[in-house]
């Protein structure tokens, strides 16, 4: 109910703000489209918390423009609904910028619209390489599967791993991860002994594990959606004795901070390559996680948080420079480099995708007994290899 009132008063505030003439200190609105309900609601929650932390740290305005965020619920993958929401945000709410987007089809659906309406749009998550090519108004602060899978393959090869099995969930990101890992690993001279595409609805991974074990590769590269599938997969990996057999698990985003505690001790020692760990050792990240903890007790930061936090940074830079004269706003952030909670990052001036360090991490317990992804190796300044190599 409280939220309802807050939303209502926010709505009336929007009405008042837009009624006034465009003053120097006027409000610039940003529409955030993300899932706030249903099975993917955690994404919207992580986005919103990170944005609110950014606002708390950096104030409500940039370059004399007050910035206001308007949230819309897209539910799950829902391109037609997302497009309608974006239309509404632009036409009736009068937003000048868009942000959010968890699912690839949702982001792709707004591409023609933001082109026509010239709305700079910051993607906080949707990770398929091609998205940023579909409109010049896209900027992305997340990652792509190529960006993290290729470093994983290279690191594995450097560790003396020569044979690997690949097991990925059979959908877009899984296919991206598979092709990226395979291409990089084989280019180095490694051998992929088997590729298993697991159906999206799989809950019992034991048969796949047995098949991998029988082929006894040095490692198994996996990609699964974060949450229950990753949980079940890791459990099967341990229970079927792959770990004892010395078949190392290599992954990317499976050890997500929001589900790590649920996986429990089974996760300890799992190696992944990723662009952000909640335990990244830097002052900036410490300040970020402390503030999250202070404002939203019990919340942790993960890839969604850092995507939204950096997304907010990009939006602040654009609005600070040009306000609602947004047509050239994307040029403001081309080549922009800054320090993010994940480490040093920059926006590639050509692809408008984020260039960032990819860290090799291992799950361990920190001094407070919490499970964290401990970074122990780094591949610096990796661009979106999917856009470079394809």
């Amino acid at each position: 109910m409280k939220k309802l009132f807050a939303a209502l008063s926010a709505a009336s505030a929007i009405g008042l703000a837009s009624a006034g003439p465009a003053l120097a200190d006027h409000t610039v609105k940003v529409g955030i489209i993300a899932p706030f309900s249903g099975p993917f609601a955690i994404w919207g929650k992580q986005f919103q918390e990170a944005i609110e932390v950014y606002v708390a740290q950096n104030g409500e305005s940039a370059g004399g423009h007050r910035i206001e965020f308007v949230y819309k619920d897209s539910g799950g993958p829902n391109p037609s609904g997302t497009k309608a929401l974006a239309q509404e945000l632009v036409i009736s709410d009068g937003v000048d910028y868009l942000g959010g987007f968890v699912f690839t089809p949702n982001a792709l659906a707004v591409a023609p619209l933001i082109d026509e309406a010239q709305i700079p749009t910051v993607i906080f998550n949707a990770a398929t390489s091609i998205i940023v090519e579909k409109s010049d108004y896209f900027v992305r602060t997340s990652f792509s599967l190529w960006q993290v899978s290729v470093p994983m393959a290279e690191w594995a090869y450097a560790q003396g791993i020569r044979t690997a099995a690949i097991s990925v969930t059979d959908y877009g990101p899984g296919n991206d991860a598979e092709i990226a890992f395979k291409t990089a690993f084989e280019a180095l001279g490694g051998t992929v002994v088997d590729t298993i595409k697991m159906p999206l609805a799989t809950t019992d991974f034991a048969p796949f594990m047995q098949r991998i074990k029988d082929q006894s590769p040095d490692a198994v590269f996996g990609f699964l959606p974060a949450g229950p599938p990753s949980f079940a997969y890791i459990k099967a990996y341990n229970e079927n004795g792959l770990r004892e057999a010395g078949i190392e698990f290599l992954g990317t985003g499976e050890m997500d901070e929001t589900t790590l505690e649920a996986i429990g001790d089974a996760a300890i020692g799992i190696t992944t390559a990723y662009h952000y760990s909640g335990a990244h050792p830097s002052e900036m990240n410490q300040a970020f996680t402390d503030k999250i903890d202070e404002m939203f007790p019990g919340s942790v930061t993960n890839l969604a948080s850092v995507g939204a936090y950096d997304g907010a940074h990009i939006l602040y830079q654009m609005i600070g420079a040009v306000g609602s004269e947004r047509t050239e706003a994307v040029d403001v952030v081309r080549g922009l480099a800054w320090e993010s909670p994940r480490g040093p990052v920059s926006i590639d001036p050509v692809t408008r995708h984020i260039t960032q360090n990819v860290y090799i991490r291992r799950v361990a317990r920190d001094e407070n007994g919490r499970l964290v992804n401990e970074e122990f190796d780094v591949i610096e300044a990796v661009p979106d290899l999917g856009l470079v190599e394809n």
Partner: protein, 331 residues
């Protein structure tokens, strides 16, 4: 249902009902036109409602009129959407041709799946219908080169409707286009429902055994109805693909089938108006609840569905009749 069948018998009353219905139709169309001017900022949403009405009308034909309970209607909608989308990308971006292709795709899938589905009844049929949609879902997911898999089918760029009206980003053309298609579909269905064949459908719903006894080939009649419904759902899918310019796997998903059924039950099954009112009410409540409180709106939808199931199981359109009965008793 019995009452509905009887209502068609006396020729005298038929005329009366028809004129009253035409009045209601004119009101509905006027409302749709008025909404365009009253809510110029919500055209995207209203277009989605129109598309969904086409889908729910098609489900009503199968579930409401022929009494075939299916939870796989998205298979037909999605086939239409993908067929129209792929046709637009690779062959021709003409919207009207796309509609024909969508309708054909929906009808073909309905015909062939109907050959199996219509042999089953009850729970078996329900399960099979879900299975058909799931098989198509996985097929589209695995054929990434053609369909884009879970990224969605990209690259749809429609030609202007009739070469005159380009699809604009405000969604004006999209709205008029969807409305025009809906009106045509509705008129077709109206004619069908009032035809002897429509009566056969109702007859099969009321008692397949008796229909068989009087010589109706029930199985083939059901397949015909299902194929027709497939064509209509396919048209809905095609409009959705053309207006959104992207088709995603969710157009074949279980959620869509289930939501369509909820909308139909909400409005009242076995009545064409039920499909319209149910869809409009469900999606409007959904839309406003979600925009007022994007975090807890599902709660409102839950309450709404519970209320309907407990208070008016016949759907919103059953409400006036129920009231009349109550008042009658009070006298």
């Amino acid at each position: 249902m019995e009452a509905d069948i009887i209502r068609h018998k006396p020729a005298k009353r038929l005329g009366g009902i028809f004129s009253r219905r035409i009045l209601l139709d004119i009101c509905l169309i006027s409302a749709a036109i008025a909404f365009f001017f009253i809510f110029p900022n919500n055209l995207g949403f209203m277009t989605r409602v129109l598309v969904m009405i086409i889908m729910v009308l098609s489900l009503d034909l199968v579930l409401g009129y022929a009494g075939v309970a299916t939870l796989g209607h998205a298979a037909l909608f999605g086939s239409g959407a993908y067929a129209a989308g792929i046709f637009a990308v690779y062959i021709s971006a003409n919207p009207l041709l796309g509609l024909v292709v969508g309708a054909l795709a929906g009808a073909i899938i309905a015909f062939f799946s109907g050959l199996i589905l219509m042999r089953a009844t009850g729970l078996t049929l329900l399960m099979l219908s879900i299975a058909v949609a799931q098989v198509l879902f996985e097929l589209v997911n695995s054929e990434r080169d053609l369909t884009g898999g879970s990224d969605g089918l990209l690259g749809i760029d429609m030609d202007p409707v009739l070469g005159l009206y380009a699809f604009d980003f405000y969604g004006k053309t999209g709205y008029w286009y969807a409305l025009a298609v809906l009106v045509v579909v509705f008129i077709l269905l109206r004619v069908f429902v009032a035809s002897p064949f429509g009566l056969v459908a109702r007859g099969i719903h009321a008692s397949p055994e008796r229909m068989r006894a009087i010589g109706t080939p029930v199985y083939w009649r059901l397949i015909t109805i299902y194929t027709l419904a497939g064509g209509i759902a396919g048209i809905g899918g095609a409009v959705s693909a053309q207006v959104t310019e992207l088709v995603s796997l969710e157009s074949l998903g279980f959620n869509l089938s289930a939501e369509a059924m909820i909308m139909l039950i909400l409005g009242g099954i076995g009545r064409l108006y039920g499909a319209i009112f149910g869809t409009v009410i469900f999606m409007t409540v959904h839309h406003f609840a979600a925009s007022v409180d994007p975090f807890n709106w599902l709660f409102v939808i839950g309450i709404l569905v519970l209320l309907v199931v407990y208070v008016v199981p016949e759907g919103v359109l059953g409400l006036p009749e129920k009231l009349r009965k109550h008042l009658g008793m009070a006298k």
